[in-house]
């Protein structure tokens, strides 16, 4: 009796310890990657694609043998377009799921809400969307465009190639358009544009009645000077805006609209025939003609099993960010946050537009800037690009309170807002 009990007990203990060991082994055998993109709510329209893109990249990497001899495992959470929930889910990813890095966020407000979490728990976030700049944080890598990698070159293009003299800065009323327009306004005035030749207009999120604004733009454009619209209108509001432009007969030859938030994905819901010639500035277009891009598009269409799925700029940003992270982890030989943070700077990987992107000490990357015109098939055609790569400038040179700031996360300085005028770390945003 006694013996049986003891045997059974021993047996049970073995079983338990084996399972425990197996569990521990399984956890050790994979490297977890967190994906923090909204799959429901208003931002699902843009962010779901990025989740799919990340899953594809992880899948592809596993086919190539994973990382450090281990398989990668994606942990997907849904912050549901709810900003405080982003912070909660980020905390869950880092402290419960123990992920090595997180790829996620879209809106600036969601990024701002997770910043303290990544700082506190010392983990890594890759942020793939073009944003307003004015930030550089130790735990965040910004793989989207800073204003000087998108907005400023676009304005340059219009000034030089279309000789635009009058500017309408139209945006949705939140932080990205407001900051970008502030930078652009300062930039335009520094280029000799008179303040009365700049019209700034903000609209609420999801604005759908554009009649008055489009007719104001027409009126503003009939002052005998070539006029262009610089649009930071976000998300859903774009479709009714472009429909109204088309219906009121605003043609790209007369008043071109250059947009910073309209990509292939947003055009998918539109009949683009009346919009041919309106512009967008990005660092990547699906139409870019390189072997790497063709391969990427092929893999994407095969992965989503949908021949009509389009690729876009933030997807490329994740592609670059993910490959940089892989390289940095291989370089560091570990997924330990501090080691990877050090190894990241200077890492260089191919981008999809035929060059190499490098992670700079300010945690922003180098990218080419492309200006594309909308075509009738919903794609963009590159009409201009910067001759070389542009380094992301986190603190704008055109804003009075940030022009003296720089960020450098390399060893002796290790500061995200170093003031070169006072020689001290800590300025705006500290």
């Amino acid at each position: 009796m006694n013996i049986t009990a003891r045997v059974t007990g021993a047996f049970l203990a073995t079983v338990l310890s084996t399972t425990a060991f197996n569990g521990a082994f399984a956890a050790d055998d994979t490297i977890k990657v967190g994906i923090l993109h909204s799959l429901s709510g208003t931002m699902a329209i843009s962010e779901t694609t990025l989740k799919d893109a990340m899953l594809m990249l992880i899948d592809e990497q596993n086919k190539k043998g994973g990382l450090l001899g281990k398989k990668l495992e994606a942990v997907v959470v849904d912050p549901a377009s709810d900003w405080p929930l982003f912070a909660e889910k980020a905390r869950e990813l880092v402290s419960v799921d123990k992920v090595s890095a997180v790829f996620g966020c879209w809106t600036s407000v969601s990024r701002k809400s997770v910043l303290p979490v990544f700082e506190e728990l010392n983990s890594i976030l890759f942020y793939p969307v073009q944003y307003e700049g004015e930030e550089s944080q130790r735990n965040v890598f910004y793989t989207g465009a800073a204003p000087n990698q998108q907005a400023v070159p676009a304005v340059d293009y219009l000034m030089e190639n279309e000789s635009v003299e009058r500017w309408v800065l139209a945006g949705t009323d939140y932080v990205y358009p407001r900051t970008t327009n502030k930078i652009l306004e300062a930039y335009l005035i520094s280029k000799g544009v008179k303040p009365e030749d700049i019209m700034i207009n903000y609209t609420p999120f999801g604005h759908s009645d554009w009649q008055t604004i489009v007719s104001d733009i027409k009126k503003f454009g009939s002052a005998g000077k070539k006029t262009a619209v610089v649009s930071t209108i976000n998300g859903d509001a774009n479709v009714p805006f472009y429909k109204e432009l088309a219906n009121q007969g605003v043609k790209a030859e007369d008043i071109p609209v250059v947009a910073f938030s309209v990509g292939e994905e947003e055009l998918a819901g539109l009949d683009t025939a009346p919009l041919v010639g309106h512009l967008a500035a990005w660092n990547y277009f699906q139409s870019v003609d390189t072997a790497a891009n063709a391969e990427f598009i092929k893999t994407w269409k095969a992965y989503t099993k949908n021949d009509k799925r389009v690729t876009n700029d933030p997807m490329e940003a994740h592609y670059i960010g993910f490959n940089m992270w892989l390289k940095a982890v291989e370089k560091a030989g570990t997924t330990d946050t501090d080691a990877v943070l050090d190894a990241m700077i200077g890492v260089s990987v191919p981008n999809l537009s035929g060059g190499y992107s490098t992670m700079m000490p300010n945690h922003h990357i180098t990218k080419p800037v492309l200006i594309g015109e909308i075509q009738d098939d919903g794609q963009f055609e590159t009409v201009w690009e910067t001759p070389g790569l542009v380094v992301g400038d986190e603190w704008s040179d055109y804003l009075p309170d940030s022009k003296d700031l720089i960020a450098d996360w390399r060893a002796p300085m290790s500061c995200g807002n170093f003031n070169v005028a006072t020689g001290k770390c800590g300025g705006k945003g500290s």
């Binding site: 799959l39 429901s40 208003t42 699902a44 329209i45 779901t48 694609t49 190639n161 279309e162 009323d173 207009n201 903000y202 609209t203 609420p204 999801g206 604005h207 759908s208 009645d209 009649q211 008055t212 604004i213 007719s215 104001d216 027409k218 009126k219 454009g221 009939s222 002052a223 005998g224 000077k225 859903d236 479709v239 009714p240 429909k243 109204e244 088309a246 219906n247 009121q248 007969g249 790209a252 030859e253 007369d254 071109p256 994905e265 947003e266 998918a268 819901g269 539109l270 009949d271 009346p274 041919v276 010639g277 015109e373 075509q375 009738d376 055609e381 009409v383």
Partner: protein, 538 residues
């Protein structure tokens, strides 16, 4: 004999030389056209000008194709062709003789890239070439493009065309084009003064632009004339602007009316706080998308009818969904407004996420039928067709609903049940069924609104959310339970909003409207047209 031979010889010579010149012209034109294929973007301007200079009518289709992005160069030999798309292939047409060359895969050809500057060059070149076309429409387009991009060199051509022009509409545009062009030419000041006067009389925004830019470069003697003309046009514009605001207000009001009218039934008449109302609008829009998808795939000729087909279907689909919601959830919650609010809000989230799972989170493309695209000018007003049709549609739905409620036995029952349930029940009306049908009617109407709204807004799972607040606002402001209140409420909010917007901006305008409504509701809690009598107390 000798004479005959001589004549023959001369004729022969003439024929041969004529033939040779013809050939050379074709060669030159061919060379000019294939030069387009090798040009860089910046060089295209000059090459287009060279083509236009040839004056050859065969240039017209080439330039048109270039502007539309249908001109391709063959990678193998650099030959330039007009193309039309056919699946993944392109059908090639020779630019010189229009001969059909056949289909080739897209990969073998390189599209000749164009940008806005090139499109402008094409437009003005085409303007010069088609000014004497036999087709009045082409001449009108040419005159319009000359009016838009005045070019002093074209003044004589315009005057020649004007002398020969018979069509009144083309004449008018040509007259304006002439005045505009005159201003940038070096004609004597007296001519210019006449042109300024003509422009001031014609009015319009384009004249304003031309005159403002002329002001900076004009002689001192002309400046007072231009300033006077500008002032005159601006005064006329101010009047038209007010009209334009009223129109925009009506248009916004019609959208509000459409969004709210279904809610006027479910919330206004039945008293159900229906948070899933917006999702009914969204389902209607998705029905339109499905109808258009089927039409695009199988019956492209029917595209202009897609909305007419979608309307009854959307009514049915959302009506049935509404019926299901009423039977399965709401009927257990009558008289418990808070629980209804939570339950319907839950339903709205379920519907949104299921649409997102089925159709994906991205926008779906719903096209404008041709009769809803574009705009026309009415005096100084620009009226877009889609907005006009939406106003007509909103009023038609309103009239139909009013008729249904006031003139049919179904409507009588609905009113009886909502006004006094017990009495109606004792009279033999099956109140549960009337409730279910009324809710289905409200939902169905929301679905029809979705068909119309798909024409001006995104078709995405979030479509409904944008309208739910506005709908409640309109119904409460107009007076709960009163259809006329909804009508007046929608239009007055629309017009108020559009008059505030130019001064306060879109963001502040919306806030101001909300503040005004709060103040109004404080004063008149029952809205504009409050129901009177015993029914109110029940």
């Amino acid at each position: 004999m000798y004479r005959i031979l001589q004549t023959l010889l001369i004729t022969l010579c003439l024929l041969v030389s004529a033939h040779v010149t013809g050939l050379r012209a074709a060669d030159d034109l061919g060379a000019l056209i294939s030069a387009l294929g090798t040009a860089k973007l910046a060089e295209l301007d000059d090459r287009i000008a060279a083509l236009a200079k040839s004056g050859d009518p065969r240039v017209i289709p080439v330039l048109e194709a270039l502007g539309e992005g249908n001109l391709y160069a063959r990678k193998a030999d650099g030959g330039v062709f007009l193309t039309t798309e056919k699946g993944t292939n392109l059908v090639l047409v020779d630019p010189l003789d229009g001969a059909d060359i056949g289909e080739v895969p897209k990969g073998e050809l390189q599209k000749i890239k164009v940008n806005n500057a090139v499109r402008r060059a094409v437009r003005s070149a085409l303007g010069g070439l088609t000014l004497f076309s036999a087709d009045a429409e082409a001449r009108l387009k040419a005159a319009q493009s000359m009016r838009q991009t005045p070019n002093a060199g074209a003044l004589e051509a315009i005057e020649t065309a004007l002398a020969a022009e018979k069509d009144a509409a083309v004449r008018k545009t040509l007259d304006e084009a002439r005045a505009v062009t005159l201003l940038v030419s070096d004609r004597p000041d007296d001519d210019k003064r006449a042109a300024i006067k003509a422009l001031a009389e014609g009015g319009g925004r384009e004249a304003l632009g031309v005159l403002t830019s002329a002001l900076s470069s004009a002689d001192a003697s002309l400046k007072p004339d231009i300033e006077a003309a500008l002032q005159r046009i601006e005064q006329a514009q101010a009047f038209w602007n007010a009209g334009q605001n009223v129109w925009y207000g009506l248009s916004l009001g019609s959208v509000l009316l459409l969004a709210a009218i279904g809610l006027a039934i479910t919330f206004g008449v039945m008293g159900i706080i229906n948070m899933a109302h917006g999702e009914m609008v969204m389902l209607g829009a998705y029905t339109t998308f499905l109808v258009q998808d089927v039409i695009r795939g199988s019956y492209p000729a029917l595209f202009d009818w897609s909305l007419a087909i979608a309307l009854p279907l959307a009514f049915l689909v959302t009506g049935i969904v509404g019926l299901a919601i009423e039977r399965s959830v709401i009927r257990f919650l009558y008289g418990r407004p808070l629980e209804t609010l939570l339950a319907t809000w839950g339903i709205s989230l379920i519907l949104q996420q299921s649409v997102r799972s089925i159709f994906g989170p991205t926008n779906r493309e719903v096209g404008n039928p041709s009769w809803m695209a574009g705009a026309f000018e009415l005096g100084g007003l620009t009226i877009t067709w889609n907005r006009l049709w939406i106003i007509v549609f909103a009023l038609a739905v309103f009239a139909a609903l009013l008729f249904l409620l006031k003139r049919t036995s179904m409507g009588l029952r609905m009113r009886a049940v909502t006004q006094n349930r017990h009495m109606a029940s004792s009279m033999g009306i099956r109140t549960p069924w009337v409730d279910a049908l009324t809710f289905a009617l409200g939902s169905g109407i929301a679905g029809m609104a979705g068909v119309a709204l798909s024409q001006i807004d995104n078709v995405s799972p979030n479509l409904g959310q944008g309208y739910i607040i506005d709908s409640f606002m309109v119904v409460v402001f107009g007076g709960v339970g009163n259809l006329w209140g909804t009508l007046v409420g929608a239009f007055s909010l629309g017009i108020l909003n559009k008059f505030l917007e130019p001064y306060a901006g879109a963001v502040l305008g919306k806030i101001l409207v909300l503040v005004l409504i709060i103040l109004f509701i404080q004063k008149k809690p029952r809205g504009l047209f409050a129901l009177k009598g015993r029914a109110v107390e029940a």
